[in-house]
Amino acid sequence: MYYGLTWAKIRETMCLAIPVKIVSIDGDEAETEIAGVRRRVSIALTPEAKLGDYVLLHTGYAIGVIDEAEAEETLKLLEELASLSEVH
């Protein structure tokens, strides 16, 4: 699990938000999955969330949809910065 945490521990860590994948949607609720663990969450705060999206899950609510293009960009930037430090 994330940070080696169990759901019990995640329960105690309120400011934590973890990326989970939406596997089905039913009104303002969605079934989500992370590392084989499924959980029903509210998507009332992210009405734009679609099937297959990753959302940031915080205390039972999706609080934001992960921007996959930006995630890719950040990884590219990280690789660039890390390799620059080797060349120069």
């Binding site: 521990k9 860590t13 400011c15 705060l45 940031l56 205390t59 039972g60 992960i66 996959e68 995630a71």
Partner: protein, 367 residues
Amino acid sequence: MKFIDEYQDNKLAQGLARKIAKRSTKTIRLMEFCGGHTHAILRYGIRQLVPKTIELRSGPGCPVCVTATADLDKAIALAKLPGVAITTFGDMIRVPGSYSSLQKAKAEGADVRIVYSTIDAVEIAKANPGKSVIFIGIGFETTAPTIAASILKAQQEKIENFYVLSLNKLTPPVMKALLDSGEIKLDGIIGPGHVSVIIGSHPYEFIPRDYGVACVISGFEPLDILLCIDKLVEQIEKGEPKVEIAYPRGVKPEGNRKAWQLMEDVFEIDEANWRGIGIVPQSGLKIRRKYERFDADKAFSVSLKPPREPKGCRCGDVIRGAATPLECKLFRKVCTPERPVGPCMVSSEGACAAYYQYGTTENLQDF
């Protein structure tokens, strides 16, 4: 796990750390606002990765920690009222109040239940119509919309025995209070990632503009934090402080409008009482009049004795970033996670808990 594992790559982290070391010439102090960041920084050894000239200081971003003793006393007094069930996030129950704790009240027969979500609190109210179910509403902007959503749900479903004690707090006003006090000099702020998912980056604009302090919003994986530190160092070296987002997969400049909307519908901005800081104007959320039947402050009255702070505990100083846990005489000696004296040792986001959990006799001197 996607969006987690790839931001933990050790080789990239080493490369990024070298980049930071090359860029950095000045001795600087950065504050990580969020307790989640403090834990990640210590867990992943980020202090050991970056040059010693970059000091990382923990800030007030731990919702349990900043809850004032007087407010905690109120929650405990509410728990003792007949017919009341308290629902709360887990950490809260172990925090010592002036005279008791929610855990002690529970042991003495009060109905205190730990919930993971406000959704659970509403369900408990539904299942127990004979009880008044009060949710202890702590948290920053990350959590406040979920509390607003619970009040709207209770309204929609006509659940009349659900109440919220709103102790929610706002991030930018307390940053302003810390910067205004001038107690500790900061060069940059590691901005809270999940608060910013909700509020976006605009509310921080005053930090570089009015105080000349750099502000970069960060995610919570080690590479996210290193990228944030790199951007902060770059800004500080150039003498061009500004607000940047180093966590763009989660944070948009405009934030989450829907969450904002819910928050604004349910809450109005009011002053709030912060442990270690005191009353900060416009830094809290009060339930609006139109939803006042859900407001535990209006529905119940309790009489409270004057609050007493735990003797010798420096949680307040740690919250302001004025002291590190190591400067507290009680740390690791009297105050431990098993027998915490103050909330910074109780909360999974508290600085003292992080230092305790990840610090060893050898590495504590580097902290």
